[in-house]
Each structure stands twice: as C-alpha cells, then as structure tokens.
C-alpha cells in the first residue's frame, strides 16, 4: 500500500482542544490513482497531505507510507519516504532559486545523491513530461511566464521520480487556458508513468472534468471518499461541506427548475450538459 491512514489525529499542541485531523482513515494505492482532495479553507486538507511525506507527524493513530510506520522516533528516516512521495506546495514557483531552468530542476535529484550526469538526465526527462520545451532549459527561470515557472517548479519534484506526486492547488493563479493545459499534462503524466497523483483543489470545474476519486475534508474529518458523480448528486452533503456545484451542473439545475431540461444523472461537465440538452428528456448515461 502506498499511503495508509488509520484513525489519524493531529493537534498542533498537546493541550490544544481543536484537532486539525480527527480520526482520519483511508488508503491510496502506490500507483495508478488520481485523487482530488476537497474541503473549504481550514478543513485540514493541507495538514493531511503534510502527513503523507513526514512533514507533520500524527498525534494519534497510524500513518504508514510504503509500509513504513511514520512515528516520532530517532530511527525514522524521512529521506526514503520523500523519494517515494513528492509534495509540491502552493505557488511553488516562489521557491525557484537557480540561475537556469535545468539547474533548478536538477536540484532535487542531486539532493538525493544522484551524480551530476544522472541528475541532468532525470531533470531533462521531467521537463519533457511536464511540457517544458528544451530551448528553455538554459534560460533563467525568472524570465518565464507564470505558467511556465509553475511547470519548472513541478518538474523539480518530478525529477526525483517519486511514485506518488502530491500537489497543493497546482492550478491557482494560472489563467484559464494555463489551468486546462496543466491539468491535461497531469492526466497525461499519470497515464504514461502510472504514478499516483493526489491534488488539493477548490475548483469544482476541475473536479468535474478530471477527478476519478474524491476525498472531502470537513473540520478535520474525512467525510467523503468516493466518486465525483455521487458527491455532486447529494445536495445536502454539499451544503454541509460548503462545496459548490460545477458550472455546468448549476446551469443544468437552473434549466430543470424552469422546466426546460430533465435528466437522470446530473450533468457535471459542459459536454454532459450539451448532451443532456440535445437529447431532451432521454437518458444521458
């Protein structure tokens, strides 16, 4: 098993009364998964992913990463865990510091003991995966567009070749085209490399279009683990977790209320909405 949480609790201080994580249990396979983590700001999403590569240690319960117990102990070695699980923070481009794109992407593998040649090859492979053209490699990362800088930063994590890649809101701040491009690349990387990709997002249109499995956090508790369709069909849950519907679902509901559209399954994406409208009342399976 890649990541396994059993009844995980987390508090910032021993005496604190509020738990940032409260009895969280789930597991994620070491390959071939695409998981999105949702929840409003402060619900515990970032705290949870920081447990996935040992940045935070659980106050209670058990976290296992690639079958290793992550507990507070002098023997705990975090480097091998971080080889398995790469974590890309929000606005990762703020952490770029090297003078060329290639050097910046090479930093990670070199840090994990690769030779210069090996690191260079890994960096080049990572850049290719994330769609950074080779003529940019010798350029300064600071003269690139925001979207390109974001990719360079993600390439830095990819170059370590982790089995599981976690991204905290990778699309925030990109323009709409940049968002789509990055999501398409992530899907492509997932399919090509079979890595498990886990990402935090607030963007319900991205969830509707790209998620397979969804985890929802609410007040430190894992309140949902399942498919996108089921999540968005259950309106009382959405309200309770403070989640919005995707744009197309909102429009579909609006049309239904006006008596202009009927459907068995709530359309979540624009193509599902289109199909539902054109087929009229027919089943839009």
């Amino acid at each position: 098993m890649g990541i396994d949480f059993q009844n995980v609790d987390f508090k910032y201080a021993k005496k604190a009364t509020t738990k940032q994580l409260d009895q969280v249990s789930f597991s994620i396979q070491e390959k071939d998964e695409f998981v999105m983590i949702l929840g409003q700001t402060g619900s515990g999403k970032s705290t949870m992913v920081q447990h996935m590569n040992g940045l935070l240690l659980a106050s209670g319960g058990q976290v296992r990463i690639f079958d290793q117990n992550i507990i507070r102990s002098k023997k705990l070695k975090l480097k091998p865990i971080r080889r398995h699980v790469g974590l890309v923070f929000q606005f990762p481009e703020y952490q770029i510091f090297e003078s060329t794109v290639l050097k910046d992407v090479m930093f990670g593998p070199k840090n994990f003991g690769k030779t210069k040649e090996e690191a260079e090859q890994l960096a080049k492979d990572a850049c290719q995966l994330i769609g950074i053209p080779s003529d940019l490699l010798e350029r300064s990362p600071f003269n690139l567009s925001g979207g390109q800088m974001r990719r360079v930063a993600i390439a830095g994590s990819l170059a370590i070749d982790p089995d599981i890649l976690i991204l905290d809101e990778p699309t925030v701040g990109l323009d709409p085209k940049g968002k789509d491009e990055l999501m398409d690349l992530l899907v492509d990387i997932q399919q090509k490399t079979h890595k498990t990709i886990i990402m935090i997002t607030h963007d319900m249109d991205i969830v509707a279009n790209y998620a397979k499995r969804v985890l929802v956090m609410n007040h430190g508790k894992l309140v949902y683990d399942g498919t996108v369709q089921e999540l968005f069909e259950n309106e009382s849950h959405l309200k309770q977790y403070n989640l919005d519907l995707p744009t197309s679902a909102l429009l579909a509901k609006g049309l239904k209320e006006k008596g202009l559209l009927d459907y068995q399954r709530l359309p979540l994406t624009k193509s599902q909405l289109y199909t539902a409208i054109v087929r009229g009342g027919e089943d839009n399976e």
């Binding site: 700001t41 809101e169 085209k177 607030h202 049309l255 409208i277």
Partner: protein
C-alpha cells in the same frame, strides 16, 4: 472619472517589443468596464498607466480632460483606488483597522472622521467583526475585502481591480465579484476590472478584449461574449455555459430558442 488614452505607446525597458502602440480608447465617467486578456496581453500595463505607476513612451492619457503628467499626477492619483493581485503584498496594517486607516492617515483625515469612515466601510465589505484581527487570521478573500474598504474609505471616484481575484480560491473570487457588483449598483463610481476570467466581465457595462496590445473586441458583454473565435484566439477560455451555447447554435432540437434564452439568463446571473 473619464479616462482617455490617445495614441498611447508603451514599452518596458527590458523588452524588445512595445506592449502596445497607438492605443486609443475612452472610458466614460461612472461606468463599469472590464478589460479582458490572457496573461501577458498588456491589460495590467493599462492599469499601471492610468494610476501613473508607468509613463507612456508616446501619446497622452487624459483624466477628466487633464493630461496625466508629473505635475498633475499627485492630485489625480488621490481620486483613484487600486486593488492589486496579491492580497499579502498590499496589507500594510497590523490589524484590519490600521490597514483601512493607512490611506486616511496619509491624507490627514481628522481622527473623529477617520473612526467613522473605518466603521462605515468595514461594515460595507462585511469585515466589521474583524477590525482588530491581524492579517494572518484572514483568508485571501477577506484581505482583498479589506483592501476594497481601504480604497472606498478614500472615497475615490475610480476603483481599479487589477486581477484582484486571480490568487483567491473560488469562494474568495465569488466574494470579490459580489462586492464589485454591489459597488456598481450602489455607488456612482467608475470601476475598471482587469481580468482573464470571463465570469468577471459579465456584469460590466462594457467589455474590452486585449490581445497582442490591440483591442480586438469592444462592446456590451452580451455582444462580446458571443464572439467565441476571437475570444479563444485571444487566449481566453469560454465559460462552460457559453461553450454549450455555441455548440447548440448549430443544432436543431425541440424548444431550442427557449432553452438558449434561459441559458443566457442563467449565465448572466451566475
């Protein structure tokens, strides 16, 4: 506040090509204008030229028929407020109250009046309960609302939103969009919103689309948002509903016209 660009050319010092050449347009007083464009289209440069953070290489910028120059900029700038992209870079106070007070103090507003202004505008942006909170206790959307209160407290005639929602989560974006709508409805201000999100242009009186330094579309949202090909060529992404509308246009099915009309209506209300 009336804003006029006459044959404006601007080039960044370090760049090979000008951002735009001979750009001309007029924004009428009291209107809400959305300037749309992809990242790098030159839209933010326009905002910086209006507030005098940048100076054109050629051409003139007129504010209420007065040319923006080194001599006039100080007086004119007092009549403008701008909300930038990054909520963390523009929070100067230790508390919400201090932050809203900052601009007023600079303008030497008397203390009594200042206290009233702060209360009034913090209430308006729904941040009154947070007056003594420090910025790290606030979400991005809340910080931007404080920035809006600061700008409103100055009672400027023009407020510019320069990609003010691009670093916020969808909830924060929605908050700021609602705030913009209510400003438009309740104040006699000129509003300019600079954005790459079509959602933010829907409620404007006028939408200008910028691509490669040229205005490629200019009109009401109803007119501009139908130009799918030009919008896409300008690096903008259609809202899902608009995309569906475009596809339906070519089809033939029952109740087509009533469904399309209803979709438009829903999109404009979103």
């Amino acid at each position: 506040m009336k804003i006029e660009f006459k044959d404006v050319t601007f080039q960044y010092y370090s760049e090979e090509k000008p951002v735009f050449e001979h750009l001309s347009f007029t924004i009428e007083q009291g209107t809400t204008t959305a300037i749309l464009g992809h990242n790098g289209s030159g839209k933010s440069t326009i905002a910086k030229l209006i507030v005098g953070l940048l100076v054109p290489n050629a051409g003139q910028i007129l504010i209420d028929d007065v040319e923006l120059t080194e001599q006039t900029i100080d007086e004119i700038r007092k009549r403008m407020g701008i909300i930038f992209q990054n909520p963390d870079n523009q929070f100067v106070g230790v508390t919400v109250r201090d932050d809203i007070a900052f601009g007023l103090e600079n303008h030497q507003v008397p203390r009594e009046e200042m206290i009233q202004q702060i209360e009034k505008y913090a209430t308006l942006v729904d941040m009154k309960d947070y007056l003594d909170k420090s910025p790290e206790k606030l979400s991005g959307g809340q910080k931007q609302r404080v920035a809006i209160a600061g700008a409103l407290a100055m009672e400027t005639e023009l407020i510019i939103f320069d990609e003010s929602t691009s670093m916020l989560d969808p909830k924060g974006t929605k908050e700021i969009n609602q705030m913009m709508r209510s400003l438009k409805e309740n104040f006699q201000k000129s509003i300019i919103t600079i954005t790459h999100q079509l959602e933010e242009a829907i409620f404007a009186d006028r939408v200008m689309v910028l691509n490669e330094g040229k205005i490629v579309l200019d009109g009401t949202p109803q007119v501009v948002l139908k130009e799918k090909d030009i919008l896409e060529a300008s690096g903008l992404k259609l809202i899902d509903g608009l995309d569906v509308l475009n596809r339906l246009e070519k089809d033939d099915f029952d109740h087509k016209s009533s469904i399309m009309e209803a979709l438009w209506e829903l999109i404009f209300k979103m």
